[in-house]
Amino acid sequence: MSTPVLSVKNLTTSFRVDGQWKSVVRDISFDVGAGETVAIVGESGSGKSVTSLSIMRLLAANSSRIDGKIFLNGRDLVALSEKEMRSVRGNEMAMIFQEPMTSLNPIFTIGRQISEVLTRHKGMTAAEARDETIRLLEKVRIPNAKGRFDEYPHQFSGGMRQRVMIAMALASKPKLLIADEPTTALDVTIQGQILDLIKVLQEEEGMSVLFITHDMGVVAEISDRTIVMFRGEAVETGKTDDIFHRGQHAYTRALLSAVPKLGSMEGRKLPLRFPIVDVKTGISTEPSEEKDTVSKKGPILEVKNLVTRFAIRSGLFSRQTGAIHAVENVSFDLREGETLSLVGESGCGKSTTGRSIMRLIEPTSGQIQLDGYNVRDLRGSDLRRMRKSIQMIFQDPFSSLNPRMTVGAAVAEPFIKHQMGSKRQAQEKAADLLERVGLSSAMMNRYPHEFSGGQRQRIAIARALSLDPKVIVADESVSALDVSIKAQVCNLLLDLQESLNLAFLFISHDMAVVERVSHRVAVMYLGEIVEIGPRASVFENPQHPYTKKLMAAVPVPDPARRGIRRGISNDELKSPVRPNGYQPPQREYREVSSGHFVQVA
């Protein structure tokens, strides 16, 4: 290999915590060659982002310390002054971040923000910078770049903003692009577009890319070489193909086996637990065959023609000018012991469906029969009683528990409020539930902040179970968790389904997890179910174009299956905003196979 563009030697980064230096990245060395893509992969707290921030020297100088050497084109960045670094950043190397919604300044037009980089770093005149900016926006495939030059960030979607960020990063023709989880906040079809774009731009510009991610699928898709980080150390470095197929380190193997792979369930009818691999030994325990938990009785939850719309009001007298048709004519049923997944991308109405069923949001029309209740007719205390039958687990374990309430009180509270027993019984129940979700009952007096994300999600599950519900709405409940934790929580949900005969309405955007845990799947698009059926049938024989598109966009954690070029499209997700008086078209469904329906018109 010729001289590497970036060469990191024995990098150790420490932070000062309470007067003591604590190293979060220890003794890491790697090179990024010309035109090469190197991925750093790891779970939260592995030090991958700190590594990238160390390279950019973006850590606060007074509370952090960088030891070792970082050569960019042969120059040691650690030795440079802050002033010299400023000419390196955004010039020789550029960075794109995770959150496209907040990384652009909302009060300047995007054209101005990009041309500013050009006038400052490249000494261009305003007119030259304008032309160059338009060229860059075209390069990142923003349609009608000239017309959008004077638009503000809020007029762009998340995917388009990430394109703008990339255009800005490319403005100074950097040798190295550092991408820190650039697609994590994006929907899967948009993620595919951005990954393709980065790959194509890299070839066109001859850049090197250092790609930070937690997603093994993305790694397999994009990187030539991969560094696996675990608790601040690089446990394994090698060709991406070798890492995936001949991983040496136990942690690498543990991480890979926890990653759900789309298509790994072929030939199976029932959900399957994730294999759990010991991080130290790398020995994996294969999951046993599942029992069929689905009840033969009638459905516990029946939803018919559910419609939820939100009025859009504007003008002086808040006249209704339109409506968001968040859920449009959705019907399905759910049996005890069954998992029905609602999948789709952001804005497709999957969460609104879950919330409408629980009446956390008022549906506009439709019928909901739940465990003998006619949900839409309930008022006041009846409504509260109904909620004993259906419970919800939220996405973000950091905001779903009251920080001022001990976990014991949080788990016992619903039981006490519904007068299901004495305080003492509630305590015992709470202790029992905590044990049941894999925590110790001795932790009852602790506050939520003393737990990790995965543990908090277990507490949230325990709380949801305290009313002995029959249906659980799991709204992206494992999406925010690290892969290994995600696997454990999914297994816990399957265990609970088996022992308590729970019905899950599993709302998720993650096709690979959905494939693993569901009995049936409903694909939602613009508020409607476009395809619904048994999981095996929908995944092995998708019929609707949107289902196909969704499946094709999921990055598969297998480098051998890469290179199915999707062609750089820049379709955006459509919005379900409709004008006043809009009549939704009558939909018809065709039965593909037993129980598998697809929308045809």
């Binding site: 956390l360 509260r384 939220f394 973000d396 009251n402 409020k417 009852m444 007096n445 602790r446 709380r463």
Partner: protein, 291 residues
């Protein structure tokens, strides 16, 4: 886990004492604040039994005397002992500060929670009234109310409290709007809790920190407002002392008798700092997320 542990009955870990109180004691600034406020509070409480001269006894022979062995802090324009007046004045000032802010919090916070939690027309009515009240200058509003209620220290405190109330309505409402978005509030609804439970157990505990900080700041404002009302004859009635009224008299003699202004000024300054330090410490101590 061993079999013994599994079969052992439910024994929760011991609650870690009173966590907030321990954290408050560990905070140096909170301790300093507590000491300052405690010092003045003890002075105020012990005023009748301290060996000090009568605070209202005038002396024609000792007008505007600088601090000396006889009068440690000097005397005022009517020859009254300033130390004695300071001690008795602490009662009026501290009471005015604490009582009026308590009134403002007790009325303002519930309205703020109602407005933020329910939104819609409840919010509309409460917020518009709050804004109308806030549009009037603080002191003018307090003067108008005090004049309406009649001149006395109690009425001054009530009018200051009512005037300060809209600040708490608005602050609380804003905090509630933010907390209301959190998943745990929706979670509370989804387990079937009623509005009162959600407001008292999920919303209120999560909005107290900024309210406490604002309250300590407002105590300072209230002490100064009481001074102004006393000056206009609407607060503490002469000859009884309050720091504010002492300060207002003293401003006529700044060049001849600077000590007349210095002591009450310093006392107000110290008490205000004391409340601010305590407020900061409380904010940290009350938050279980911060260690």
């Amino acid at each position: 886990m061993t079999a013994i542990e599994q079969t052992s009955p439910v024994v929760a870990e011991k609650r870690e004492g009173n966590r907030a109180w321990r954290k408050l004691k560990a905070s140096r600034s909170a301790t300093a604040g507590l000491i300052i406020i405690g010092f003045f509070a003890i002075l105020a409480i012990c005023a009748p039994i301290l060996p000090i001269p009568d605070p209202v006894a005038t002396s024609w022979s000792a007008i505007r005397k600088a601090p000396s062995a006889a009068h440690w802090l000097g005397t005022d324009d009517l020859g009254r002992d300033i130390l004695s007046r300071m001690v008795w004045g602490a009662r009026a000032s501290l009471m005015a500060g604490i009582f009026s802010v308590t009134l403002a919090v007790v009325i303002g916070v519930p309205f703020g929670i109602l407005a933020g939690y329910f939104g819609g027309w409840v919010d509309l009515v409460i917020s518009r009234i709050t804004e109308a009240l806030l549009a009037m200058p603080f002191l003018i509003m307090a003067i108008a109310l005090a004049a309406f209620l009649g001149p006395s220290l109690t009425n001054a405190m009530i009018s200051i409290g009512l005037t300060a109330m809209p600040i708490f309505v608005r602050l609380t409402r804003g905090q509630v709007l933010a907390v209301k978005q959190e998943d745990f509030v929706e979670g509370a609804r989804s387990v079937g809790l009623g509005h009162v439970d959600i407001m008292s157990r999920y919303i209120l505990p999560n909005v107290t920190a900024p309210i406490i900080v604002q309250a300590t700041l407002t105590v300072a404002t209230a002490i100064i407002a009481e001074a102004s009302l006393s000056f206009l004859g609407l607060g503490q009635q002469p000859p009884a002392a309050s720091w504010g009224s002492m300060l207002n008299v003293a401003k006529n003699f700044l060049s001849q008798a600077p000590w007349m202004a210095m002591w009450p000024g310093a006392a107000i300054f110290l008490v205000v700092i004391g409340f601010n330090l305590l407020g900061d410490g409380l904010r940290d101590a009350l938050d279980p997320r911060e260690h």
